[in-house]
């Protein structure tokens, strides 16, 4: 456990190493909020309701879904990148398991994002968009938010481990990013999508990423029964697949340069 936390702290420190990257990503998240609040502000007329969604709800959704997304999403493909460069060799040498290493790395980044992006963005959102504290901020939301992190990390681990089989996992990484954009609710709430897409989406892990916690935060009437349980089930399935892939993948790993 000590190793895990030390690794987490190092990951946190490493994220602090690049100041420019930090400020650019903060600005990027703020622009993202401006773009989507402007879009929804233009699409919805004041007082209008579409699929049970109002203008105010959509603007708030854009802000909170962005906040959840920027704190949870990690853009670095830890395993895939290291397989491509062959650096995975030095990770596999250590008496510390690779899955734990990636989790510790992700937790470090996550804590960093919460403090460095999440909190300043909330302050900026209060200033620029005059948002009020959401009604659904409670322990259930917090649990749902933590579970979204584990779902995202599980997906990242699964797609990362795929590089043990195919070396360059970039196409899968791209597919995952597109699926996150379309189905996770980071841009569009699920009920805006065509019904067939919605039906398909619930059989994927993506709506459990951002849509569920965002809706929990914003809507009193959102049917949240068993939502946490479903998130846990998704986590178990993703990690199970990831571990099986890892177990067999490491026996067929190729390392650059012999």
């Amino acid at each position: 456990m000590i190793v895990f936390w030390k690794w987490t702290i190092k990951s946190f420190q490493r994220n602090m190493a690049y100041r420019l990257e930090y400020f650019v990503s903060l600005l990027n998240a703020l622009l993202y909020m401006f773009i989507f609040t402007s879009i929804w502000g233009a699409v919805f007329v004041e007082g209008q309701t579409k699929n049970g969604l109002t203008r105010e709800l959509m603007i708030n959704y854009a802000i909170f879904a962005t906040l959840i997304k920027v704190t949870v999403v990690k853009t670095r493909d830890f395993i895939g990148q290291r397989v491509r460069t062959g650096e995975i060799a030095v990770d596999l040498l250590k008496p510390f398991s690779l899955p734990m290493m990636t989790l510790a790395d992700a937790v470090g980044s996550w804590i960093f994002q919460i403090f460095s992006r999440g909190i300043p963005l909330i302050a900026l959102a209060i200033y620029f968009f005059e948002i009020s504290p959401p009604k659904g901020f409670d322990i259930e939301f917090l649990l749902s938010y933590v579970f979204s992190f584990f779902i995202f990390h599980g997906l990242l681990f699964m797609f990362g481990v795929a590089s043990f089989y195919i070396t360059d996992n970039f196409p899968l990484w791209l597919l995952n990013s597109s699926a996150v954009s379309l189905l996770s609710g980071s841009i569009l709430p699920l009920q805006i999508l065509p019904e067939s897409v919605q039906k398909f989406a619930i059989f994927t892990p993506y709506p459990y990423l951002f849509y569920l916690p965002s809706m929990k935060l914003l809507r009193d009437d959102f049917p949240f029964e068993y939502a946490l349980l479903r998130q846990v089930l998704v986590i178990v399935i993703i990690y199970f697949i990831g571990f099986v892939m890892y177990r067999y993948g490491k026996t067929r790993l190729h390392i650059q340069g012999g």
Partner: protein, 333 residues
């Protein structure tokens, strides 16, 4: 540290590694064909490698590019799974006893770093101390030792990305030894280092081997590394062992060329030399000859030179590992 009883510390038997590689024909059509109808080649990187290494030995593991050196080391390190064969180090199987095994092993890849690129050197060592559970007193003692021998405190608080190659290699070597491993694998450790840094590195490796009784296996394309520090040589090519034995015997047995530098007295009369002798250089009364010992022995040579004039001084240099291996690699090709 050696808990393997009277058995060799490292036992490698019938090791084999086959890689499946996608075969692509050239051009766009080849790429499209490979997409829909992939065809794989099976490449035997290591065919049949067996050897034993005793505690405290310092072994050079050499071979041309693609011979299977790095693949063998990665299998011995527990990173790559062998297609066939057995590896036991310290009585442990690297794949079954991964954690215990890793605690007793140090590995350094010259082309890769185990340090955290974005953080100061000290932070990586702090993490390594936790990973390998190095006792605080022992950790401090080791750091002092590596500072004394490698000067790691000179760049202790610099981010790894800002280190020079020499500094990075020094830090990586210290990192691979911080937990007092009983076995150390070095894969191209001096790549890119200048002459002075290489010399320091070799001295330190010898020192660690002697003082700590660390068993060391080293691969290097700089044969000076092997010649200067190893006592034993394992030569592989195309995935099979060609030679395994004492380094000196190998050179003596396979080296046929000797350089002879002779300084004559004032009066020199150049006469016919025996077959197998060539003059490389003349500088006044000093001549440099090369002898092919398969054609001429020293007795014949000295007898011939005696007729040239009075011999005032003589230096003889026998063949180097580089010379021998160059010829062997060419013969094998």
């Amino acid at each position: 540290m050696d808990d393997s009883g009277g058995e060799p510390l490292i036992q490698v038997s019938s090791l084999k590694k086959t890689f499946r590689v996608l075969k692509k024909n050239p051009g766009v059509w080849g790429a499209v064909k490979a997409l829909f109808s992939p065809y794989y080649n099976h490449i035997e990187a290591v065919k049949d490698v067996s050897f034993n290494i005793n505690r405290g030995e310092l072994v050079g593991y050499v071979g041309p590019n693609g011979a299977g050196k790095s693949t063998t080391i990665k299998m011995m390190s527990g990173i790559l799974y062998p297609t066939n064969g057995q590896i036991r180090v310290n009585g442990l199987n690297p794949f079954k006893h991964k954690k215990k095994y890793a605690m007793k092993l140090g590995v350094m890849f010259g082309q890769r770093t185990q340090l955290w690129w974005d953080l100061p050197v000290s932070e990586s060592f702090d993490l390594l101390q936790a990973i390998y559970r190095v006792d605080k007193t022992e950790y401090k003692k080791n750091l002092d030792y590596f500072n004394e021998t490698l000067g790691i405190f000179d760049f202790w608080s610099q981010p790894v990305r800002r280190l020079s190659l020499g500094q990075r290699v020094r830090a990586d070597l210290a990192a691979s030894l911080i937990h007092n491993p009983s076995v150390l694998f070095l894969d191209e450790p001096t790549i890119g280092l200048d002459i002075l840094a290489r010399e320091k590195f070799r001295t330190l490796i010898k020192k660690i081997n002697q003082e700590r009784q660390t068993t060391i296996l080293i691969t290097s394309h700089d044969l000076g590394d092997i010649e200067n520090i190893a006592n034993r040589l394992i030569l592989i090519d195309k995935g099979s062992v060609l030679y395994d034995g004492a380094l000196k015997s190998f050179i003596n047995k396979h080296s046929f060329h000797t350089r002879m530098i002779i300084t004559f007295g004032d009066k020199i009369t150049e006469r016919k030399l025996p077959p197998g002798v060539t003059i490389i250089e003349k500088r006044g009364s000093t001549y440099e000859f090369e002898l092919n010992r398969r054609e001429v022995n020293y007795e014949k040579m000295l007898a011939a030179l005696g007729s040239w004039g009075e011999l005032k001084d003589m230096i003889m240099e026998s063949g180097s590992l580089e010379e021998v291996l160059t010829r062997i690699y060419k013969d094998v090709k």
